[in-house]
Symmetry: C2
């Protein structure tokens, strides 16, 4: 079997790896139908996160179950399944309260850019679709594994309600799907912050009502202008840098809600400034599993089409080009077909 | 008229000051029935906040209206009133959404340790009691001006609901009234963190079900032990230091709620740690005005007795001793009678 391995900055190779096997009785083996490159894969790709040794890559996946361990009861061979990037038992207290990405037994699924994948805690992690989907649904179903679930959590954690005024900081795939999610939740106004024409267009397709091209203080000033000086009810921070976090907090109204869903890189919050901002803050690794049943239904019934974020599709053996295109911002998100 | 003036670290003087007069047509002049020393007064008293010049002190107050400006319509001379430490118009967009302490016209009321006080924005700021109260209700009514309103906000901002498991970090007057507030909101279990016997006793009177005397990592370990390893649903951070903030965040369950209501002094949040803690964070200067009508009703009908936090009552001319007793933790909170 072949898969993607990161050797160091901008050095992704497609190479022979051992075929995954059942290790624990709760495992499943899944034949990947589609996988993709995540914005967070670019942190180690760019050398911002260190990669101490050659590292298999990929944590977004969907596909057909080939085999299950003897303790697996609900997931069966032949089913088409989607799972989160964090495997979870879906039954520990943290899972039961809806934070499956903080499951007491959580394991990061980290080898999905390959043709075959071992998924731990299969019963808790995987959700099967009603039937094997038609090919055209696969991109949208794939997004539910992380990027769409993360955008959905961003909107939920920022308390988006019917009629809310929402601002989205970041025009990557998560930010764009944050727009789509806010729209689904009934937001009255959605301001997307983007300076790239193709991303602006997709944001508008997903429900953005306003585009702000300015950044930093100027971007905040524009948001204030658009909201009678108050700021937005909900702000989704979908980047993970200090600059974007400050921009997000400053764009919220007093008592507003700021969510943050990308691993913060070098972000520090000044306690006193946060205090006087009066915002609510919530974030963390998205508990995608919580939302999977609802999101699958929306995609299955063709109510949403989050797969539109894939503007580049490549065979898996061209994974290196998939990373390059995203690194250079030529592509929003790359779908890979084994 | 005489009032308290802070000259420098541990140097509070009771001295002659000009009698306050109506300056703006929206002002009221209030004859103070009772005032008190706030935990936050100790920051400048201890020299942690600089005091560049002699500064009149005091921001907690209740009393009888003596005079109102010609634009004041709802507040009338002879009424007994309570107001927040932030004057607010109670009508700007921030006020209407419940964040009166971020009112667009807010003014800090900073000269209340005196016999007479000018209150700006009287119609928005002051709430009258149904009648002039009997003397025994005055301590509890006074707490509503800040300390009780802040404890109430701490519980509300930490999402305390019927049945919640709550932990309170800090056994000052705000923390103790956070216990009382959580109890009013129906918390199922309230863990007070305190190592002082008299404060533990009051916490239990106010509804604490458990006392944890350990601090820091040991304190967190005890909270985890008491909550089947999960942490508390709601944690009220009522101190404002880095140590107490870390303790609060670490004591919350995944997806739990942490509030912070004291001005943070030297507090920095590490973005990545906060991200993986998965907590909700909300705080800021308490929008006391939002809660005043409800809290007045509770005190007036003798459902709550927050005035119990005053374990020292002095005539106002002994204000210096009032500060000293709190600084040395001989008193929880000092009530001052002009």
């Amino acid at each position: 079997m072949r898969g993607a391995v990161l050797y160091g900055p901008r050095d992704v190779r497609f190479e022979e790896r051992d075929v995954p096997k059942i290790i624990k009785p709760t495992d499943a083996i899944v034949r990947i139908s589609a996988t993709c490159v995540c914005g967070s894969d670019l942190w180690p790709y760019r050398g911002i996160n260190q990669v101490p040794r050659p590292t298999p890559m990929g944590h977004e996946y969907c596909g057909i179950v080939e085999e299950v361990g003897h303790a697996v009861t609900s997931i069966k061979p032949g089913q088409f399944v989607i799972g989160s990037f964090f495997a979870s038992d879906n039954s520990c207290p943290n899972c039961q309260i809806g934070y499956q990405s903080s499951c007491e037994l959580k394991e990061f699924v980290s080898t999905a850019q390959a043709s075959i994948l071992r998924v731990p805690l299969a019963d808790g992690t995987l959700v099967a679709t009603p039937a094997v989907p038609s090919q055209d649904l696969i991109p949208s179903l794939l997004t539910l594994s992380d990027v769409m679930g993360t955008g959905w959590f961003a909107a939920d954690a920022a308390n988006v309600k019917p009629g809310s005024t929402v601002a989205v900081v970041g025009d990557g795939a998560v930010g764009l799907l944050g727009v789509l999610s806010a729209n689904q939740m009934g937001a009255g106004r959605i301001i997307a912050m983007s300076r790239h024409e193709s991303r602006q267009r997709l944001a508008c397709e997903f429900g953005a009502t306003d585009i702000v091209t300015e950044r930093g203080d100027e971007g905040v000033a524009r948001i204030k202008e658009l909201t009678s000086g108050m700021g937005a009810d909900s702000v989704l921070e979908c980047v993970g840098t200090q600059e974007s976090m400050v921009q997000a907090i400053s764009s919220a109204r007093k008592g507003g809600y700021v969510s943050y869903v990308g691993v913060p890189h070098g972000v520090e919050f000044d306690g006193e400034k946060l205090f006087y901002s009066h915002v609510h803050l919530h974030g963390g690794p998205a508990p995608v599993r919580r939302y999977l049943p609802e999101m699958i239904k929306l995609v299955w019934n063709r109510k949403i089409d989050p797969g539109k974020v894939f503007d580049l599709t490549l065979p898996l053996d061209q994974v290196a080009e998939g990373y390059r295109a995203m690194d250079e911002r030529r592509a929003i998100k790359t779908l890979l077909r084994p």
